[in-house]
Symmetry: C2
Subunit: 137 residues, 2 copies
DNA sequence: TTAAGTGTTACAAATATTGTTACAGTTAAT
DNA sequence: ATTAACTGTAACAATATTTGTAACACTTAA
């Protein structure tokens, strides 16, 4: 589900979204977020591929927002960064365990549905809405 | 959020719930779930403290269900086992970053709310309902 | 009295995450 | 055209987290 890439990516894109004309380097973001520049570039490359931001190489380059921040939501960021819900974490059961035969399927269905509710909620929050909410505090 | 303790704990308690008279040892569960007995005892001790199962020490001992499996839900299991949503994972921002001042608070609020929706869904699934759903497959 | 359990702690091993180094490619400025 | 400041990416190192192990006190049934 939510992992640290989500937090990092969201934090970064909010920084870019806060000033549409800003072009921040991974190095600048790095010192703001206390995370290594290479990792920032990795996470931001996903945002770039999704078209939410753009990057400019070379001197004076960096990252800047390139989407409608009223339309891009936390769900979109989640989609880019989330882990599979439990795929790797669900224990396989031996064949002798009758329950185990179906438990993975059933949990997969239930948890996927629950995750959908989670995402539905995230979808209500555009980047703009998050920025607004921060202003109000 | 959901971690492997959830999967492990849930799987274990479903095995116990499937047969009310069964008394399974951590060793038995261990070989079924391919997880070390000590870890199973650790996770099950939480379920025990919550009153969902009981344990019997000594020879012939083990774990057995002790709750109304129509009433205990996936949300209850989640509550016992989940990690904090992002507490440790959210990046603190330096003071110079105006956004960072509030971002943690705002994300905390939004994500807590989203998590609530997730839990609301889990609450619909009693252990009995999960077992029933497995039968139907 | 012994064998088979739980409960719990301290520690080891394995795995996953994050940081680091290195370098090719791009761009702006001189 | 050269240089300095960037991105993009891969391979590897360091760190943190998770999981497994060993040890042992305590409990219970046979």
């Amino acid at each position: 589900m939510i992992n640290s890439d989500f937090a990092l990516g969201l934090h970064s894109i909010l920084l870019l979204a806060a000033d549409k004309d800003a072009c921040l380097t991974s190095s600048t973001l790095s010192s703001m977020l206390k995370v290594h520049p290479v990792r920032i570039r990795k996470v931001l490359s996903k945002m770039k591929n999704a078209g939410y931001i753009e990057s400019k190489e070379g001197a004076g380059g960096g990252f800047f927002i390139s989407c409608n921040i009223e339309k891009v939501t936390l769900k979109d960021i989640y989609t880019l960064t989330h882990d599979d819900l439990m795929k790797a974490k669900c224990h396989s059961c031996c064949p002798s365990c009758k329950i185990g035969v179906n438990i993975e399927k059933v949990l997969d269905i239930i948890l996927s549905d629950a995750d959908e509710k989670f995402q539905d909620y995230l979808e209500d929050y555009s980047l703009q809405k998050v920025l607004d909410k921060m202003q109000q505090m």
